[in-house]
């Protein structure tokens, strides 16, 4: 019976799942409050009930019921019910240009996230940090996974991007005690914000050049040490620059990073990096990782490949830093230290090397776990590392490593072979 069920669900396309999820989040908004009251829960379970359950285990049954009634049942039933029309629409869209279909799917996904996070500001904040973590993880995966180096300079890049973008928006759009009055009217701010992020990204790409030039000959441990040194250099540089606040940090950035902005940048990052790793450059990067001498012999310009990939990854880390600074609305140098590095590295190696899927899975699962296990306090720092150790033992390259991310496979209509119908 189980297999039969699974077979039935095999023909549910992504679009139908998304519609199901959309209905579920709508349902939560409409009947979530009465249902929580009925089930005697204190509030709508915000992160799938983890916080409630870990704090008061007695509420496990009601939380499970809530999750089943609000999420599991509606998603499955509706996804199954609309599978046929969804398949038809997906097929029609699929025959046209791929981007139309992709954008429609993404629009649906955004709608789901938006409604889901509308319930509580805490959800929204967690979601934003999770999306930013995806960008950072993916960009580090580019170096550590696709290029096979071990770079420790990502906190440094993030710091450069965060400070770059913050200075950009503080100088132009905010009255601030460090930089004086705004140069441009604040209404332009949200529209110019992408420029600020790109500016931050370029600053960190230039920073990457500084690491890349002296270290392009080194590999492995040596690069790790040089890049680690870079992180420290950036940190103490910012600490000693008085005009951007020094160790006291830089605050009161305007609130430009709303969910839509963060979502769009995350999608852009996934899309562009995915295209990059599937392009000639990406393949060259892989060749450099597998055997640099052989790659050189096969006319790959290894030096250029390494530099470009490094700077490209740094650019995205910088963008992530810029978004991070505007979500937090405060940056200080000590945020971008060893702890941040450990966090990002854990996400990359947990999710899986050389894989876009892996980065997304790693970033989402570790950032959600970090929040969901909050009630455990100290034990959180035993459980998460333990999970990492287990993953490293049983899947040494991470959960989903070396898997290509193919948007076509994801959004195509699903038909089961004729004889099984």
């Amino acid at each position: 019976m189980m297999r039969n069920m699974l077979n039935r669900f095999a023909e549910v396309p992504l679009a139908a799942w998304l519609i199901g999820a959309l209905c579920a989040v709508y349902l939560e908004q409409w009947v979530g409050d009465p249902l929580t009251e009925l089930l005697l829960l204190p509030k709508i379970p915000v992160l799938f009930g983890c916080l409630i359950v870990l704090k008061t285990p007695k509420l496990i049954p009601s939380t499970v019921v809530f999750l089943i009634l609000i999420y599991a049942v509606p998603i499955c039933v509706i996804a199954y019910a609309v599978r046929k029309p969804a398949n038809m629409i997906a097929a029609k869209l699929f025959s046209g240009p791929i981007w139309i279909s992709a954008i429609l799917h993404l629009g649906l996904l955004y709608l789901i996230l938006h409604i889901w996070s509308d319930i509580s500001a805490y959800r929204e904040l967690t979601l934003k940090f999770t999306l930013i973590a995806i960008i950072v993880t993916l960009s580090l995966n580019l170096i550590n996974g696709y290029m096979g180096e071990f770079s420790c300079s990502h906190p440094g890049f993030m710091a450069l991007g965060a400070y770059g973008a913050s200075v950009f928006s503080l100088v132009l759009f905010a009255d601030d005690k460090n930089f004086g009055e705004a140069l441009l009217p604040g209404i332009l701010g949200p529209f110019m914000f992408p420029l600020g992020l790109i500016f931050g990204g370029f600053i960190s790409a230039i920073g990457a050049l500084v690491v890349a030039i002296p270290s392009f000959r080194t590999r492995g441990d040596y690069l790790a040490i040089i890049s680690l040194a870079f992180t420290f250099i950036v940190k103490s540089l910012i600490e000693n620059l008085e005009f951007i606040g020094g160790p006291r940090g830089l605050g009161s950035q305007p609130d430009f990073s709303n969910l839509l902005v963060v979502f769009i940048w995350t999608v852009l990052c996934v899309w562009i990096i995915n295209n990059y790793v599937q392009s000639v450059y990406g393949k060259a990067t892989n060749a450099v990782r597998d055997d640099e001498i052989a790659a050189d012999a096969m006319t790959v310009d290894t030096r250029k490949t390494k530099m470009v990939t490094f700077m490209f990854a740094a650019f995205w880390a910088g963008v992530a830093g810029g978004l991070f600074a505007h979500v937090l609305r405060f940056v200080n140098p000590s945020t971008f230290g060893i702890q941040k590095l450990a966090e990002v590295l854990a996400m990359v190696y947990f999710g899986g090397l050389n894989s876009v899927y892996g980065s997304i899975v790693g970033a989402v699962s570790l950032s959600l776990l970090g929040e969901a296990l909050r009630p455990l306090e100290l034990f959180k720092w035993i459980i998460i590392p333990l999970l990492l150790i287990l993953v490293m033992i049983y899947r040494p390259t991470g959960l989903i490593a070396f898997k290509e991310f193919n948007i076509r496979n994801l959004i195509q209509p699903k038909h089961i072979p004729e004889d099984e119908v």
Partner: protein, 390 residues
Amino acid sequence: MRKGAVLILLAVAVCMVFTPSAWGKNDAIKIGINAPITGDNPKVGEGSKYAAEMWLEDIKAAGGISVGGKKYDVEVIIEDNEYKAESAVRANTKMITEDEVMVIVGPQSSSQAIPAGDVANNYETPMISPWSTNPDTTNDRPFVFRGCFLDPFQGPVIANFVSDQFGFTKAAVLYDVAADYPKGLAEEFKKAWEKKNGKGSVVAYESFTTKDADFSSQLTNIKRSGAEFFFAPQYYSEVALIVQQAKELGWDKPIVGSDAWASADLLKLCGKGCVGLYFSTHYAAKGAKGATKAFIDRYNSKYGYVPDDVGALTWDSLRIVQAAIESLPKLTGKIKKDRKAVRDAMASIREFDGITGKMTFTENGDPIKCAVIVKITEEGEFEFHQSVCP
């Protein structure tokens, strides 16, 4: 399919039966504590947590906080901010939107209190940071208060004390350039000293970076500069190293410190070297009287050490919150309204009699309170020397 539906319904029914109905919406007053339980500075988190536990014990013993003749249960929610800015923001957002706390006490350090204060102010939730000395924490934020004096006050206090006590005119400063608290205080001190003794009276202004352990080159410079004393606004773990190394280099003049010295661990790490030194702080444990002494004794017997200033300030902050809530005519049960009422009550507190001194909040949410100069005795206790009021 049908079977599945029946099963689910059955499961729901069973769960409903077994869900105890004792809890549901309770009207307890929730107080959030945002403290670094894990991370780089767990001792600070521990002090806050213990103070909160003791406070809760008192409240429970009294049967809750009474507002307008009605007793309300109190729940304390402690969230860990891992000594990180982003985590402090997450913790604050969670407590405000999920737990619906009425007031937040914490975060302790300025690097977390500044961004967390922004969140609290945006959601119109009163927050009091017991220990954050950076002016930005409360600046332009009507809902954010603090429980301690600010750096711009402490700097002149130390400068005045040294001139009055010793009559020195040449000062040196040794501070951590990478941490906001020492750096800010070093600057304030320098400003105050130069105002008093003229330009160039700070003869050495030496810095190092967090986690440095060797200060010999800076100390040599200070020694050579002809300074009559030096000021080290550092945390206690660094103070021990600085003092020991200074003694090894033959420095026999005074070293003066600030409130971050005040930790029970200072003497353990520093040994005889620290005896006889002076520093400014929020309260003096030795020679304390009345409520202060009662608090110290109780803390000491319960947790086995004399509370740091973080513990005392957290205690005072909680008491201020309690006083503010108690002064309300009634609670409406609508959290947003109640938060506003508590904020207004906190802002209008006059001459609050805390264990770290009397406090009155300015319009900015900063208290006007006295600093204490203490001397480290032979037995390793912090003895009251003098009190400096604004």
